[in-house]
Amino acid sequence: MSIPMRTGGPICGRIDRRTFLADVGLGFTGLAMGAMLHKDGIAHANAGAAWAPPDGRPHFRPRAKSVLWIFLSGGLSHLESFDPKPALTKYAGKTFTETPYADPLRSPLFHERSRAVVGGERPYPKIFPLQVGFKKHGQSGVEISDWWPNLATCADDMAFVRSMYTTDNDHAAEFQMHHGRHALDEKQPVLGSWVHYGLGTLNENLPQFVFLGQYKDMRVKQNFAPDYLGPRHAGVELSLDPVNPLPFGTRGKGVLAREQQEQFAFVNELNRLAAAAHPEDEQLQARIKSYELAFRMQKAVPEVLDLSRETAETQRLYGIDNPTTAVYGRRLLAARRLAEQGVRYTLVYLSDYGEWDSHLDLRNLHARSCGRVDKPLAGLLKDLKRTGLDREVLVVCCSEFGRTPGLEVRDTYKMPTGRDHHPHGFTVWFAGAGIKAGTIHGATDELGFHAVEHPHYVTDIHATVLHCLGLDPRQLDVPGRKRLEIDHGSPIRDVLS
């Protein structure tokens, strides 16, 4: 939620400055916000071509109103979750060349789809067996590992894309998953920022791009950084800590509600007096509005994050009654409440940074992490369905990459028991609005190595999300900022309803 003054960043290309001054008076509507006060410092790639910032309306009929983007950091094993491969158990301990299948390390895809920032390639040719059993679920008969007993019951409400790949074999792939570019390439705004930039607000009193999660590693912030779209399109970090749910969104210690209300009123009075003296000052009008919004936001955010307003039954559905799952259940329930109240895009960071990075002891570590989020994720899907929100809210769940079919061996490992990073093939799943439930799309090879059938780079997920929201990423391009075809991606039409 923001009132832009001057669009961000350096510029290149040809210049055609103009003022987009839609409304400096009282008609401050949601849709006009993006354009209310927009002094454009942006260059125009195309001389003479008119360019205007988005007007907040979708480009075509949207299928979803809002998005819950759920991220599992560190690299969830696709093999021990949604793409189990019996061949791994059958040929356990053998090298790839000893199987009847083509050696994935010799495939040209091995080099094409991986560009190391750090270290070398990760060829682990000795097959590590599946660490958990799996069964077919639902009408689609999708194979899901036994570590997801709750989520598996929602199989028919989900759509799986088993043919994802990315190009960084280290953890910068996490940020790549959000902004679409390899770590060695120029950064781009993250998907949430594009959505925020492209669409008007659903609720003036709430930020429209929210981050929910806890982390110590500051790089996590890159997942909600707007880059050249500017700070007004950054994800706003909300916290489930009732003491400080919104940055600077709590009255100072000892300050009374009434006291602050009077103070806000006085600030507005002074600013209106100043506005009379400076009728030319467009920024002043915006600032007056921003104080009104701030005051409402300060009130609205704690209310929407107050989970005690939910029934005990709903809280149980999300696993909030169980200490193992409570943290994750609370985060997802809060995300549902935000979507319900009109937050456009919520990034739920559903793990610690790097939590799923099981180089060793995958069996125990993955089982532990699955145990934390399985019930809450299932709870979310069930809750969306019973409330009908599944017709408005799109859910995406992903990790930055999968894990190697081969056993990770290193000099320092006494007993190798895990899998390394694997950008060449992994799974994401969708659910909710706009999604054709029960779909299984794309496939990795028999060893779960390369995405071979309908391969998709990460920006195809972005394109799918934008498509569901009624946005064409090409129409969001900012002049002077080069977006490549690969940045735009293509919607994965098979998973769309």
């Binding site: 003054m5 960043g9 400055r17 390439d185 009374l256 006291e259 006085f266 000052d281 921003s290």
Partner: protein, 900 residues
Amino acid sequence: MRTFLLIGVGLIALPARLPAGESVDYLRDVKPVLRERCFACHGSLKQQAKLRLDTAALIRRGGRHGPAIQAGDAEVSLLIRRITEEHEPARMPPQGKPLSDKQIASLKTWIDAGAPAPSDEIAEEDPRLYWAFQKPVRPPLPSAQAQTCRCNPVDTFLAAERARRGVQASPPAERATLLRRVYLDLIGLPPTREQLQAFLADAAPDAYEKVVDLLLSSPQYGERWGRHWMDVWRYSDWYGRRSVPDVMNSYPQIWRWRDWIVRSLNENKGYDGMIVAMLAADEVSPDDEESLAATGFLVRNWFKWNYNQWMRDNVEHTGKAFLGLTLNCCHCHDHKYDPITQQEYFRFRAFFEPLELRHDRVAGEPDPGPFKKYVYGVAYGPIASGRIRVFDEKLDAETFFYTGGDERNRVGGKPAVSPGAPAALGGDQLRIEPVQLPPQAWYPGLKPFVQREETERRQTAVAAAETALEKARTAKDAQKSEQLAEARLAAARSDLASIRARIAADKVIYLGAKGDAKVMARAASRAEQQFKLDAIHVSEVQAENALESARQQKATPAQLLPLEKQLTDVRAQVARCRAPVAEDSTTYTPLSRIYPRTSTGRRTALARWIASKENPLTARVAVNHIWNWHFGQPLVESTYNFGRSGARPSHPKLLDWLAVELMANDWHMKPLHRLIVTSEAYRQSSQFDRQSQNHKIDPEDRLLWHFPPRRMEAEEVRDGLLFVSGELDLTMGGPEIPQEQGLTSRRRSLYFAHHGEAKMEFLELFDAANACEAYRRSTSVLPQQALALSNSELALRQGRVLARKVWRAIEADTTLVKREEAFVQKVFEQVLGRVPSTAECNASAVFLNRQEELFRQQKAEIDAANKPAVAGGPSTDPAVRARENFVQALLNHNDFVTVR
């Protein structure tokens, strides 16, 4: 509702003409398409296949394969065949999407209509003749009148342009407004109430000029303008994984570069010299320790994980910061707009190819140790002392051409690329001469402070060992303790003797002191060996004592065994050590790492070419930034791109005049600041009438017919909160302060950690610079800014401090009758730099009364809410609390964050 375009339209069916009745205009429908998609290869820049498409006449003439079109018949026209070619490799344009059906239809319709075009169409000029690539010459002042009057030249250029466009300048700003404007502009802090009153009372005709001179000589000038340049030079403290900690980007101790920037600006160093220092201080002034920190400009781009990335950032940001060139565009292909080839991209990179980082020891600080080369999988934490800088390590480093922006795609058989700058800018024939470095630069252990500190440290150790020996003699087991203490003293003494001998040898061998080098080296070698022997002897005594104690305590044979083995091992070491002492060795350990004795001189050549008065871009790019920071809008909108795809200047002559003026002043910036801020344009009012003719003609104020008001930058907001309440800590320089202290520390904002990993939240909300790219800042108005100014600990606390401070002054003045009125007035002057209007006074009085009344009624509540009381918390006295509320409200006034 817009129509959705199918993504990835791949059909190249032959598109039809435009529907009948839709006409095609060459300039509107055809030329823009050709310019966008074709000119880069078939225009004045490259003329591939001898074909140019930049005028209709040239299109008809065609190229190597004949005319590009047959007027009147689109189907047979070569141009149409090539853009509709179904076989993709042969289709034009070769990169990007095919032309759209509509674009093709327009072209066809135009050709069928006989390819009509204006007869006076002018072909694209030779890119090498583009204005920005010509050396600026000082233009004459625009009119005869301007040439004779004693006006500020800046104004004469602006006035001429305004007159041409029929726009009138605004009257001068009110004096109070002007004072606040120039204070914030030059030092980043508002004037105090006292400074305001002194200025208003100064009737001298040069009152304003005196203030300007005072501000330019204030140390805060360097901090304010240093922060500006830090934006462009991408200042960044180290980052990567600060929570581990693990350094990946930039480097610890780089704050010395920040301090160098501030100091250099305050000393009015020339911009040319600053460029040379930042790119090549290690070559041009290798003995000047302070200026070595300037190479932070290159250190900042360092990336532990990927050397190529370091090189890429060096090229891109040297190009953008100093030259306004987008060299990065030629990483993957020849530049699409500017006369720079991909080969020249790699030639530019070759200037930096020999680079590596190095830690230098700083006097009075612990030795940071040697720079650690990256080993996969190993995190390494920050150094806590010393200086980080660059040097040429690989003197024969070769640069290789690669394609697709990916260093794995080295083109086989292509020889290494030699260093050079773009030929179109006259940079391809630079003379590069290796630099012989002075001994202390390549062997920093020769520096007197290192020798002194190393000696002193050992002297202290000897004294401590002597004292320990005295003590040991009176100890319980005197014999054993004494034996050990004696061994330790002997080791300390031989350590001292060793360092003295090594220093003496160094002086003879490297610094030309008198003596026989061989003899000295032999003595140093022997002394060092003696020390090693004595040091091991300490271990021997310790091992003996341990064994003996164990025996006395009747240890079991199993317990004794390891102690016996230990003693045997130590004795074996002693024996090994003894042998070399006898040997006639001349080798000894140097006092520091020894680096190459020469540097390639590549960066010096580059830096001198950039910082030359012959370079067409350097001065223009600099004055454009300076202008932007004074007026909030640049003369060339694309501050980092002066190439053909960048913007044209709003006032080309003014830009050139300023560029020449900067160089004529030997690149000193202060005279330029003075010239600009004393211009009438700068002193104009910022108020204007939206209905005026001026506004109709130039709503963007490109002609500067009024001063453009602006919101304070992030640092000004935070520093301002502290400054108006009299609590800003003006301590300068030093290591970066953790971001977490942003709301509690009282230091200026530029001293806080600023890097690519995370930003201080308060500053970020007010559009602080992106540490990775900030060639221009943006400004936003966010509700979160309102929350930060209303609720942050910082704003609340400083409001309370100021309320108390002002009230105390009022109470001290016994002559005052209307205290509340005086309070309101003083706070307005201190916070907003102006007096309140009558309406504002009235509103303020009402507010103060109302709040006081509120607190009286809710006294029990405010008492309860304040328990336990915290330092800096709200007052529970109703009147005091009301005044606190009032000051806090003024800190939220739009005028506080606005510069008019």
